[in-house]
Subunit: 226 residues, 2 copies
DNA sequence: TTAAAATGTTAGACGTATCTAACAAATTAA
DNA sequence: TTAATTTGTTAGATACGTCTAACATTTTAA
């Protein structure tokens, strides 16, 4: 006797990682293509292809051959739930466990898959129902509601504007180590002194009136307001 | 070109769970048999058989057909490292996150597989390098050294003796819920009033001079000293 | 000391997640 | 608008962890 189990709502660790990436990468244009996912997830395109077929069966994505991949409402809910757990974990690691913002992402990648509402509810409670993670990213609430901000990348701010750093668009250690070196952090206000046309680098003046230069690569990963 | 990677020291989540069980179940007699492992891990005997072949190749166990399974020093080190993480996680969940001792085991089963020394070192530090988990089990130190105690099961204590509950030999929720109901906890002193010859049940007198009866099944899972 | 029962192993299968090789479609450039 | 390039799919293979069915060994009971 064989029972085909639907396994509604639940996803394997792998499926969770895929839907999270599908959601994030499709944010900008409403969809994501196979090769982008393959690159992000460090797998080959055929692997993405077969996983998308599976997620389409689960109704987490809409997927037609040779067409872009779109997240469904159901898939979005899944993704936001994992993103919520990831960001709560990161903030917990920084605020409660006193780890550095540059070292928490990799641990949160593992903690986000812990299955226990009690665990996450307590973290949420201990942190006082926080709205942002250590990198300035908004934390979706338990219903999947997430703040939709009007932040811009630092390299898109106007010259002579004073802007506040509110988030980073990358939480990999190498990048955050670099920001730590430059002394840049969330909440800091900086004046955009000059944007080089040639290479896209940006010259800033920080709180301490010290001038510092950052490359385009770095500037586009720093999100600012005002 | 094919590279056979040795993957020294590292184990998959599944392998970690097997070696932990091999270690625990072989504690009493120095070895464990296939059917015991199958029962504990909720898999069928052939599954255990093939996993033991794999662990034998990794030199974590010694395994000859139809003979009991023995842990090697290398396997013991692996097992103790996972047990350490499990128990540190449990204590963290109780002492820092204020969860109940009856609900932390299942979460710790997941947390013990988180790969991050930073994470566990911080937990250890925050807890003040603790020696026991919430169920009274000794926590191996970073070198795998573990306290070897002379605790006995409550049903093996003598009548009229006053003993201190120092640990429980089972940390499943159903059992701990039962202890919570009876008001029994670690550190509590009880007087053994009577041990029934017929069914092995034990009558105790607690701190508040109240008499209470526990079954053999419960008594053999409570560890006492003195 | 044999027969029955319990325990363990082998063979072959399956689902998941991955890959490479070969082919197909869509996009871009000539 | 054809050809080249990029992108995506299919087919078939592999490792892992699991299963069932069949067979083998060891232990226990007659
Ligand atoms: Mn992160
Ligand atoms: Mn983050
Ligand atoms: Mn436990
Ligand atoms: Mn415990």
């Amino acid at each position: 006797m064989l029972f085909l189990i639907e396994n509604e709502g639940m996803g394997s660790l792998t499926e969770e990682n895929y839907i999270k990436s599908v959601y994030s990468l499709s944010q900008a244009t409403g969809e994501v293509i196979v090769s982008e996912l393959a690159k992000k997830l460090q797998v080959k395109p055929p692997t993405v292809n077969s996983m998308m077929k599976k997620l389409a069966l689960k109704k987490w994505v809409v997927y037609a051959p040779y067409k872009g991949i779109k997240v469904t409402d159901k898939g979005k809910k899944e993704a936001l739930s994992i993103i919520r757990r990831h960001r709560l974990a990161e903030l917990f690691l920084v605020n409660v466990m006193k780890l550095g913002w540059e070292e928490v992402h990799d641990i949160a990648e593992q903690l986000e898959h812990v299955e226990s509402n009690r665990f996450y509810d307590r973290i949420d409670e201990m942190l006082g129902y926080p709205k942002f993670d250590p990198h300035g990213e908004p934390i979706p609430d338990a219903n999947g509601k997430i703040l939709n901000d009007k932040r811009i990348a630092l390299n898109q701010a106007k010259e002579n504007a004073t802007v506040k750093i509110v988030a980073v668009a990358d939480d990999k250690k190498s990048f955050l180590d670099h920001l730590n070196d430059k002394g840049l952090k969330i909440g800091e206000k900086v004046l955009i002194k000059r944007k080089e046309a040639y290479d896209g680098s940006v010259v800033l003046i920080n709180k301490a009136k010290v001038e510092l230069m950052i490359t385009h690569q770095v500037a586009e990963r720093i999100l600012v307001e005002e």
